[in-house]
């Protein structure tokens, strides 16, 4: 099967992107090197092609009620042009996907979902459809760019008459003209930095991409998926399939803030209420390697020779220049400062449980 390409494929080739198969999409893993790109976003600004993300549009008189029933967060608190991070759960509390809900009005929403889960999400949503809602997979109608970093606002402002300061964190403006193209701009992202996500028509994607790189000059660079992962990980932002999945609930992953157990009924609520009352058996924890080595996803975690869980994500941290990780372990073993072992290639290497040692997000409130 041939790989899918985004409208920015030729732009990546032109910029020297190293293209890989990313869940069926031919996308750049890096351009100049992950560490360099990572630090560019932390210090200045970076431009990402995230066109592979899925978009599902929900319209109709019962749209709000319908979405509320699918989501763990309280959708009814959203105002027009506001965005919410939420989970869509199974009956057992495991996660179908984590996603963003964009509200145009209470009869019109856009769900932005993970590329790898898009078809599954779409089927799940359709399966629960009620009267008075229209569900449409509009993924192929948009290209999506993300500009992230402390200089993101300054650079993007050069290309638009819209005062970007009017777009607050987790809000969007559906009518922003950038470099002559009609776009939707939201103040969101996945790096721990301030920045924007820009939805354009496919045919305008290259124009907007080139204009942003031109406007930013040496203060911006195209960034690949490799740095996207190290950036989100350092900021402790969860990744589906690692920190959360069908077998890990949001409560176990420490993301209970996005689960409103006092709101109306939603799929998975009963299971999550029970889990909250009993206190989840597992907890997502931070650790730092003491011995030299890098913990990777799925490596086992031990305490005094007993298996207590596994690593969800581990990496060299370009910002802190050390080896850090997240692990899902049995709750009773979580005491910050305590030593654990990570099993790396059959060797027990020492690590230390920590708290608050990840990147402090630099997003605007």
């Amino acid at each position: 099967m041939s790989l899918k390409r985004t409208p920015l494929f030729t732009a990546h080739q032109k910029s020297g992107g190293k293209l890989i198969d990313f869940g069926g999409w031919e996308l750049p893993v890096q351009y100049e090197g992950i560490i360099k790109e990572h630090m560019m976003v932390r210090n200045k600004a970076g431009l990402f092609d995230v066109s592979h993300m899925g978009e599902i549009e929900i319209k109709g008189e019962n749209a709000e009620k319908f979405i509320q029933y699918l989501m763990t967060n309280n959708i009814t608190t959203l105002k027009d042009n506001q965005i919410q991070y939420t989970f869509m759960c199974y009956e057992n509390g495991g996660v179908v996907d984590d996603l963003l809900v964009y509200r145009y009005s209470n009869t019109h929403y856009l769900l932005v979902v993970n590329a790898s889960n898009k078809d599954k999400d779409y089927e799940w949503i359709k399966k629960h459809a009620i009267e008075g809602v229209e569900i449409k997979d509009t993924s192929d109608s948009y290209a999506q760019l993300a500009i992230q970093g402390p200089l993101a606002e300054d650079i993007l402002q050069k290309l638009t008459k819209t005062d970007l300061k009017t777009i607050k964190f987790f809000w969007f403006d559906p009518e922003v003209e950038i470099a002559g193209a009609k776009t939707l701009v939201s103040r969101t992202g996945y790096t721990g930095e301030d920045g924007f996500e820009i939805y354009t028509r496919n045919e305008d994607a290259v124009k907007v991409w080139d204009a942003i790189l031109e406007a930013g000059k040496d203060d911006i660079a195209p960034i690949g998926l490799g740095a996207r992962d190290t950036l989100r990980f350092e900021a402790k932002l969860p990744l589906y399939g690692q920190e959360i999945d069908q077998d890990i609930t949001p409560l176990e992953a420490g993301l209970g803030f996005f689960v409103k157990l006092d709101s109306d009924d939603f799929i998975g609520k009963d299971a999550l209420v029970k889990q909250k009352e009993a206190n989840p058996d597992r907890i997502l924890v931070e650790f730092e390697m003491i011995d030299k080595g890098i913990a990777r996803s799925k490596y086992e975690v031990e305490k005094d020779g007993v298996n207590i869980g596994w690593v969800t994500t581990g990496s060299h941290s370009p910002t802190f220049e050390k080896s850090i990780g997240l692990a899902l372990i049995k709750r009773e073993y979580f005491t910050p400062g305590e030593e654990i072992n990570i099993i790396i290639r059959n060797r027990k290497l020492k690590a230390k449980l920590t708290k608050g040692s990840f990147y402090k997000k630099n997003t605007k409130k």
Partner: protein, 128 residues
């Protein structure tokens, strides 16, 4: 891509420099560019005996874990400990920075390796 003429090359992208019975072993320019930013090198133990194809270390970049295999058999007589604190040296100059030195048991092992010309062709075929 940089492929020095005076070295031998393995299919696993190790280079070998022969100095009498001893061989210096490292990774090639192709390998380091494929791996990307190298952030950790796990070295073998000095005095360990290795076979052709035996594991002699692990190289980790930000994204990937990659095993390293010995292209010759013999005894490990030296490892480049500088890589433990500065693994990025392999990105900076992969031919100046060897990883280990093996005292060969069987000098014929070298004949199984590729010349620079052959290796260049091998890499270009991988690119297709």
């Amino acid at each position: 891509m940089n492929i020095p003429k005076d070295l031998y090359y393995s299919e696993e992208h190790e280079w070998v420099r022969v100095e009498e019975e001893k061989v210096y072993i490292g990774i090639t320019d192709y390998a380091q560019s494929q791996l990307g930013d190298i952030v950790f090198v796990e070295l073998p133990m000095v005095d360990e005996e290795v076979e052709v194809g035996g594991e002699v270390g692990v190289i980790e970049s930000v994204k990937a874990v990659s095993d390293m295999y010995s292209p010759v058999s013999g005894k490990i007589v030296e490892v480049n400990e500088e890589l433990e604190t500065s693994p990025e040296l392999l990105n900076e100059d992969c031919y100046q920075n060897f990883i280990l030195v093996v005292q060969m048991d069987n000098p014929d092992d070298i004949n199984e390796l590729m010349s620079a010309e052959k290796y260049e062709k091998y890499c270009s075929e991988l690119e297709d």
